[in-house]
């Protein structure tokens, strides 16, 4: 190793720049320029009208002021009914959605299913994931009429895209050696699933189902806007009647319930593991 005195004589650079993230400078500047052009174009398309915005400020203040104080008293019966309907809707669509997700998720796991089953199940999942619950709800309302049944169908279908996908991925990532060991005992297909796959994926799935219950409750607050029942319908009515203090109360109740669900799900996850 060279000694200190040798080092002194050598010249070291006095400038250092961090190597850029993208080393090709043409590509780097291209991406930066492209991003700037896109941002300018996108912001321009917002049609931000300063005058209209200025007018919006007092309107916004009045609007926000009309939320306070939240009114829990008037319309109490309606709000209560809406909340309960949302809760029942969330529960039953989670249960139904998961019940449908299990066979589809098994079918969408590459290591379990034959190719054509795999492709079919994956397409179902992709379709359900692509379209937001609201679009599903619009069609459900067209088919089944107004009311919670349409919301229930929409949320169940939405649950499939979420749950079946994660189940399939979890199965694909599960330990192969355990699966093989059970297969080697001469177990049939159902025994194999029950002994080798289920124990591996179960804990996470329980956590996810509570999480999905949480999502379904939150979504149930909006499917009502297109006629799918639940608290969303109540909220929509409150907005269209300009009863903003009631709307504020509903929003606060939703936030509270979501907080409780979140707490419950983290508790349950800990308990399961």
């Amino acid at each position: 190793m060279s000694s200190l005195s040798d080092n002194r004589e050598r010249h070291y650079p006095t400038v250092w720049d961090k190597p850029p993230f993208i080393s090709n400078s043409l590509l780097r500047w291209g991406i930066i320029l492209g991003a700037i052009i896109y941002l300018v174009a996108a912001i321009a398309s917002m049609e931000i009208n300063p005058q209209r915005l200025m007018e919006g400020i007092p309107r916004g203040q009045r609007f926000i002021a009309s939320f306070f104080p939240p009114n829990f008293a008037d319309n109490r019966g309606v709000v209560w009914d809406g909340i309960l309907e949302s809760i029942w809707m969330a529960i039953i669509s989670t249960v139904a959605g998961i019940a449908l997700s299990v066979p589809i998720g098994l079918g969408a796991a590459r290591n379990l299913a034959p190719f054509w089953v795999y492709i079919t199940c994956r397409s179902i999942i992709a379709g359900s994931r692509t379209f937001p619950e609201i679009i599903l709800a619009i069609f459900a309302v067209k088919l089944f009429g107004f009311g919670p049944f349409a919301g229930f169908i929409a949320l169940s279908l939405g649950t499939i895209g979420f749950f079946a996908k994660l189940l399939a991925e979890d199965i694909e990532n599960s330990s192969e050696s355990q699966a093989e060991a059970v297969k080697a005992t001469g177990a049939n297909w159902f025994q194999w699933i029950n002994y080798a796959i289920q124990p591996q994926v179960m804990p996470r799935m329980i956590g996810l189902s509570v999480y999905r219950l949480d999502i379904n409750f939150r979504e149930s607050a909006v499917v009502g806007i297109v006629g799918g029942g639940g608290i969303g319908a109540t909220l929509n009515t409150a907005f269209s009647r300009y009863e903003f203090d009631t709307a504020a109360a509903i929003l606060l109740i939703i936030i509270l319930i979501v907080m409780v669900l979140e707490y419950a799900s983290s508790y349950l996850r800990k308990w399961v593991q």
Binding site: P132, F149, V222
Partner: protein
């Protein structure tokens, strides 16, 4: 799952059970309560259902389905601007959300929060932003700002703050503290510890969460038009209301393609960054 193996020696036979009797009864009770709740929920929902419509649904579905084919391809030219708007709503909304979510996340993480009261406020911001769906945010913003793309963009931004900040603060709480300790030991100030010790560790997460949310926001912004907040949802709503089913199927296909492309883009970008 906390299952305890139990070997009971009854007489001469050794019997193996997965659980104790007490636990087994508890589990049965749990199932009983669960099933009754589901059945009750079902009875409430079915009470409010007009079963005639439900029975008629398959015929209706077939009817609408047949009216949707073939899609009206010429309509695509009219959809280009709405799709552009939809993408802009998602992108700008995500940018707004991330600029706010990053500081909120640092305030919400146990190890970086300046004070516990600040943490409580940050957590409340996160939960309220998450609880209120972007469509409801849009509904309110249309009241304030008037209909248009701007309301939609801000709605997407407000809805995404909570989601992004939650994922971010969880990852900030999981950083390797020894790296921060080492920076601290050099005499670095608090903010330098942040930029040298913590930020490099969470930067990949910040990028990943932003892209992930952008992908979700593309989907979410397709519906904002329903309440007048811009994007392709406006056309969808209009076409459904006027029973123009061939336009509806075209729009659905366009949404499908847009979402697939956005998913592909986000996977590519994520691969390049992480």
């Amino acid at each position: 799952m906390g299952a305890v193996m139990v070997v009971i020696n009854s007489g001469n036979d050794i019997e193996w059970r997965r659980r104790t009797t007490k636990k087994q009864i508890g589990i049965w009770l749990g199932w009983l309560v669960g099933i009754s709740i589901v059945l009750f929920a079902w009875s409430v929902i079915s009470e409010k259902t007009v079963w005639f419509f439900v029975q008629d649904a398959p015929r209706q579905a077939a009817d609408i389905g047949s009216r949707m084919i073939p899609p009206k391809w010429s309509y695509i030219t009219e959809l280009l601007v709405p799709v552009w708007d939809t993408i802009n709503i998602a992108t700008l909304g995500t940018i707004i959300a991330m600029t706010i979510a990053v500081p909120v996340a640092f305030c919400a993480a146990r190890n970086t929060t300046p004070h516990n009261s600040v943490r409580a406020i940050a957590l409340f911001i996160i939960v309220s932003s998450r609880s209120v769906n972007s469509l409801i945010w849009a509904l309110m913003l249309v009241f304030i700002l008037g209909p248009g793309v701007l309301a939609g963009t801000i709605a997407i931004g407000l809805r995404s703050i909570g989601f992004c900040a939650k994922l971010l603060y969880e990852s900030i709480e999981e950083i390797d503290e020894s790296q921060v300790e080492a920076v601290k030991a050099t005499g670095a100030s608090n903010i330098q510890q942040m930029t040298y010790g913590i930020l490099p560790q969470v930067l990949p997460t910040i990028a990943g969460v932003g892209i992930y949310r952008w992908d979700i926001n593309i989907r979410e912004s397709t519906i904002l038009g329903l309440v007048g907040a811009g994007g392709i949802g406006l056309q969808l709503n209009g076409s459904i209301n006027t029973l123009a089913w061939t336009q509806v199927s075209t729009i659905l296909l366009v949404i499908l393609v847009t979402v697939f492309i956005s998913e592909w883009v986000s996977a590519k970008v994520r691969g390049a960054i992480i």
